[in-house]
């Protein structure tokens, strides 16, 4: 069970909704994934033009909650405004704080993200910030009242996988809130590995949206996440690490 704020989810896979070729493909992928939580950028809300709007079709899905995100915001002030508007339009208590001022590499701004997350948590949002894989920032955000932290596995859309695995392990070790890998995953096996490491969930967008068969890939990611989680719970066999020293270290014990 994945618990975010006071809301529980059976699925440990969260989907991003940008980058799909069309709305119908997106909906099929979401359904195939079994996800119960999707994130949608406020900038993709378009009430005036229904065929360009992502919010309304997602809102119709049963058993799927919406998490507006602040993608496009350059700083904390813009992100807070986007979050408030997103809550008003979607009715969702969730917000994914996403502030990446550089439009090329899209790396999250830790300073603005912290400021926005703190303000939004105090305002009653269930806040999930997208962050660099930084164990100190993760604890700061936990202290600020976030419901989870979402460190990146690699740059958005890069398919770089879990290049930050060592840092994510440190985040997991000391976190009291769920840790969700967001961005970078290319293959379901990487989602499985993230879950084996002890992540609580994975958020995937590009790898599914850009696949030849998005619905097929969505299903594969769901299986990857579930496989990794099951393996984690079953207890992975450790790597053999038992070396017997040639000169005994414990001879002084008699």
């Amino acid at each position: 069970m994945l618990k975010l704020g006071n809301i529980e989810f059976n699925s440990h896979l969260i989907l991003g909704t940008g980058k799909f070729s069309d709305t119908e493909t997106m909906i099929r992928a979401i359904e195939a994934s079994g996800t119960e939580l999707v994130t949608v950028a406020l900038r993709r809300f378009n009430q005036d033009k229904p065929d360009d709007d992502l919010c309304a079709p997602l809102a119709q899905l049963k058993n799927v909650k919406l998490m507006p995100n602040t993608s496009g915001a350059m700083n904390a002030k813009e992100a807070v405004r986007a979050a408030q508007l997103g809550r008003e339009l979607s009715g969702s208590p969730f917000v994914k704080v996403e502030i990446h001022p550089n439009p090329h590499h899209l790396m999250p701004d830790p300073i603005e993200t912290y400021a926005a997350a703190k303000e939004l948590a105090a305002d009653g949002f269930i806040v999930l910030p997208y962050i660099p894989a930084d164990p100190v920032l993760a604890k700061r955000l936990e202290d600020a009242g976030c419901a989870a932290v979402m460190p990146l596995g690699a740059a958005i859309g890069s398919g770089g996988g879990l290049s930050t695995a060592d840092m994510i392990k440190l985040i997991i070790r000391d976190s009291n809130i769920p840790v969700i890998v967001d961005a970078g995953l290319r293959a379901p096996s990487e989602a499985a590995r993230a879950m084996e490491m002890g992540c609580d969930a994975c958020l995937v967008n590009s790898a599914i949206a850009a696949a030849k068969d998005p619905a097929g890939m969505a299903k594969a990611f769901a299986m990857g996440v579930e496989t990794g989680r099951t393996a984690r719970n079953a207890g992975l066999m450790p790597k053999s690490d038992i070396a017997i020293a040639t000169s005994p270290l414990t001879s002084f014990l008699g």
Binding site: K169, D174, N176, P238, A245, L249, F252, G254
Partner: protein, 372 residues
């Protein structure tokens, strides 16, 4: 009968070790624990189990490798100074308990300064100031003044005293204290109640929560430990581990250290109900190093020279030496009877020579007063 202190506490869920005590462990479980990448309570329980006693050598190898990775080839040194033997506590195992027929002393401020000068002249930069339980002869005001004197001379001033309120810890932090050591003695509620016969120390939860209050009050480091021998070591060590992990997750900016004080029936006047021998103590220390790879692990002069020499760098990364457990004893002042018998009576130079012979560097200064 009404008592101002709860006599039997219930451990909070985050500390209770019982789910891991109910499991039995095989050699395969120990091998599994030795190779794990993410140690947890299950790992520690397996490494503390009787089955792991057959794995001391591979545990030592792993403990040494982890110690080198996180601390290099160094051992940090400190020395204790007992300020006072006055005590309101009734600890059944302690030489300074309030019913013991022993002459009581408390160093006056002039003597404190002289003792600290003598310690400083030896080369130490970290001093641990100790008192008994709260009493008028050694209260918070006295401690504050002693800390101030010490902070003028030493970069790192640690205190091992009675549990206080957060505000009192803040007073000591502002006076210059950086670290607090607070051994729970035992985490087992019934044993705790039995061993602490009267006085404020009867309040188990007050003591349990003291490190958290100290960290909230501005102390940077907290030292934890349980007095081995009082209760089932597996119970106490699992609870100690859980206590440390809880503090790591909650006070994530704080530094922790863990010590392994042990009642030794052969050198004291108190027979430990659960005696821990050297092999078991080594197993415990290896297990902690494996499960908490980056936490400094401390061994005092309660242990003998041969054991300390063997454990230096083999899990242990911080040690006291040239210690007196009498009140004072480094300068002019000094009482005759100590809180416990020192088993490693070597001088500082001899001890440092030993460390160097093992390719370990003795480190005296690992903190700077600029940070307070």
């Amino acid at each position: 009968m009404d008592t101002p202190y709860p006599t039997t506490a219930t451990l909070p869920d985050w500390l209770d070790p019982t789910p891991w005590l109910e499991q039995s462990h095989t050699a395969a479980d120990v091998r599994h624990a030795l190779g794990t990448e993410s140690p947890n309570e299950e790992t520690l329980a397996a490494l503390l189990s009787p089955a792991a006693a057959e794995f001391l050598e591979p545990m030592a190898a792993r403990a040494q490798a982890l110690t080198r990775r996180h601390f290099g080839r160094t051992v940090q040194l400190y020395v204790p100074l007992y300020l006072s033997s006055w005590c309101s506590g009734g600890c059944a195992y302690c030489g300074f308990a309030s019913d013991r027929q022993t002459e009581r002393h408390a160093l006056d401020y002039t003597s404190v300064a002289k003792e600290l000068d003598a310690i400083k002249a030896m080369g130490f930069e970290e001093v641990l100031l100790l008192t008994g339980e709260r009493c008028p002869k050694a209260d918070v005001d006295y401690l504050r003044d002693c800390v101030r004197i010490a902070a003028q001379k030493f970069h790192n001033v640690a205190i091992e005293v009675f549990p206080m309120a957060e505000e009192e810890y803040r007073i000591l932090a502002e006076a210059g204290a950086t670290s607090v050591t607070m051994y729970q003695e035992t985490y087992h509620p019934e044993t705790y109640d039995l061993m602490h016969r009267w006085g404020p120390k009867k309040d188990m939860l007050n003591r349990l929560e003291a490190p958290a209050r100290a960290l909230s009050g501005g102390l940077r480091f907290a030292g934890l430990g349980a007095l081995l021998g009082l209760s089932d070591p597996q119970y106490d060590m699992l609870a100690l581990y859980r206590h440390a992990r809880h503090l790591q997750k909650t006070y994530w900016q704080a530094g922790l250290t863990i010590s392994f004080p042990r009642i030794r029936n052969e050198v004291g006047g108190f027979d430990a109900p659960y005696p821990v021998d050297e092999k078991m103590l080594a197993q415990i220390i290896f297990a902690f190093r494996i499960c908490l790879p980056d936490v400094p692990l401390v061994l005092s002069t309660r242990e003998g020279a041969a054991f300390r020499d063997g454990m230096a760098g083999l899990g242990i990364s911080k040690m006291s030496i040239a210690s007196k457990t009498t009140v004072g004893g480094y300068g002019d002042a000094g009482s005759e009877e100590g809180q416990f018998d020192v088993s490693d009576a070597r001088g500082l130079h001899e001890f440092c020579d030993m460390l160097r012979s093992k390719d370990l560097e003795p480190v005296f200064k690992n903190w700077d007063s600029t940070y307070r």
